[in-house]
Symmetry: C2
Subunit: 338 residues, 2 copies
């Protein structure tokens, strides 16, 4: 299956390959008449640009690499939808990979994408990523690097986040305002900024209200729906049960809630509950779950725009350290008493 090249078009139209190349790239030096003729010929001959030959010359790929912990979470797929939209509008392709929350896989993905010569790399770290030296090669080659959501604070690189600490604080304050005096916090891997920060916000709110910060009231878990059942059972076995729960994501919160309700706990009367993310699930559980509206789609758009504007020379990622996006506490019935 022989591919049509610009040489074939040049021959057929009686111009040089260079003219064909220019015409197809809309180079203003070529007259409109010639351009039209060449484009028509290209179309009729079934020509398609050979991106490899082109990339080989220009040393650009118009491709962005993405590494995320998992694709199959509502938050991540929403972010990706946002990234894809912007990338597509700007003629960029995406190569999307997932680390499955494993640093080892993250390293291998980062190498693969590096070898694919992506123009830029967008990353949300796996929860066990302590060492991030695998990204050094990008920095060395001046390939722009941008983190979002799960970022590394010990690494001076542009990133887009929400203020997890503040939102953890506000969520906890809200529970306290509803009369909770014994608030249990369910958190994720403490290596992960998003979870430690929410945890810190929780702690600050407690101390500010003269409550004890009791480590036995903090449970670290995988935050899956099924982890929720285990946690609910732990809670039910406690000598003194908590009267408030701040759970670091909605899926897990929904899992907890479902078991607690089945055991006759009244929500929010016996236990008030707040989650995080504004996952669609949060609106459907009963009572609807108080949560934090995490603007995933907007974050995806923001991240892609930052990267692409940098690549186009419109702005400079290196001048940015961190962008904090707006997110709000969304109060629903699962936490409102009275």
């Amino acid at each position: 299956m022989k591919e049509v090249t610009i040489y074939d078009i040049a021959r057929e139209t009686g111009v040089s390959p260079a003219t064909v190349s220019r015409a197809l790239k809309n180079n203003p030096a070529i007259s409109d008449k010639v351009k039209r003729k060449i484009k028509e010929k290209a179309e009729s001959m079934g020509y398609r640009t050979n991106t490899f030959a082109s990339n080989l010359r220009t040393k650009r790929t118009d491709t962005l690499g993405i590494i995320v912990p998992r694709l199959d979470s509502n938050f991540m797929s929403t972010v990706l939808a946002g990234i894809e939209k912007v990338a597509n509008e700007n003629g960029y392709n995406l190569i999307i990979t997932q680390s499955f929350e494993s640093q080892k896989k993250e390293v291998s993905n980062s190498v693969t994408l590096f070898n694919s010569r992506v123009d830029g790399l967008i990353v949300s770290l796996s929860s066990d990523s302590t060492d991030i030296s695998h990204f050094k090669r990008y920095i060395d080659k001046h390939i722009p690097l941008l983190f979002f959501d799960r970022v590394c604070n010990r690494f001076d690189c542009a990133n887009v986040v929400i203020d997890n600490t503040k939102l953890g604080y506000e969520t906890t304050m809200h529970l306290i305002a509803q009369g909770c005096t014994r608030i249990l916090h369910v958190t994720g891997n403490q290596n992960c900024n998003v979870y430690t920060e929410r945890h810190n916000g929780y702690k600050t709110a407690l101390l500010e209200n003269n409550f004890q910060y009791d480590p036995s009231l903090v449970i670290e878990t995988g935050l899956k729906i099924d982890d929720g059942s285990d946690i609910a059972n732990k809670i039910l076995e406690m000598v003194i049960m908590p009267d408030g729960l701040f759970i670091a994501n909605d899926a897990c919160a929904a899992g907890v809630m479902s078991v607690l309700k089945a055991k006759g706990i009244k929500i929010p009367e016996d236990i008030a509950i707040a989650g995080f993310n504004n996952d669609p699930i949060s609106r459907l559980v009963e009572p609807p779950l108080t949560t934090v509206n995490y603007p995933g789609y907007d974050m995806g758009e923001m991240v892609a725009k930052l990267m692409i504007n940098h690549l186009k020379g419109i702005s400079d990622l290196n001048m940015t350290n961190r962008i904090i996006m707006k997110a709000d506490l969304l109060i629903r019935d699962s936490s409102v008493r009275k």
Copy 2:
């Protein structure tokens, strides 16, 4: 930022570029000693293959193109997780695009991916795709094409599906067995095989039980959570309310259920409900939702394996027409009476 090439390695190691190329590709003609020396040098010099130069020669990209309606649904992201895993294990990259349920976008995506010279294309059609001539170019160039979930029956091309008709039938039979005599069906765009087939299964089950098939008991909708509210309100206004609902996806079913319950309808006593997909949401609503377990992750793996095995010459996609994967009715409390 100068890239290291095989010429640089050749110079440093005192061999020819051809030998370097062979050594790095593990060509058996090269002695182990030389291989080791070259590989070490390559490593120490920070060499990375230039895939463009390589692709330009070999005319392969080791990249699969994907077109899906949307990324941000649980089912799709689960499928993609499965595809990504297999692709990655086999050294393939993915370029993922979404059509946003628009044929126009689907066409433009198919062109982009074609021009990116993907080795193969995996597609789940947008709901308004009637004409699929935009894929002809792939067939003409013998680029393997594989559809899944949303496929086109009028187009003779390999595809992976579940038996939607059968499952629609079984779900409806189950509702009938629970004593429902007036079953309303909520379906999606009737241009879409998955929805027409589920719809047909519903119809068959009714007729087989000597119920009338009443078109006024079939509602076509976008199947989003929020569409669920509208539908619930429509149901509440009906002169004779249905006593069973078969809803073509779980998100919408959860939306319907939430409003019905709020209006005091007892589920399953007043109305029994069944959804479709086994979305995580189905386990968390109350009562838990009867649904069809749609094995998205497995389907992703299956699809990727089929494509990659074809590309590797292990098997031949052209000999396959359709693969029907197993899926089962998952009976939960939302439809079980007494």
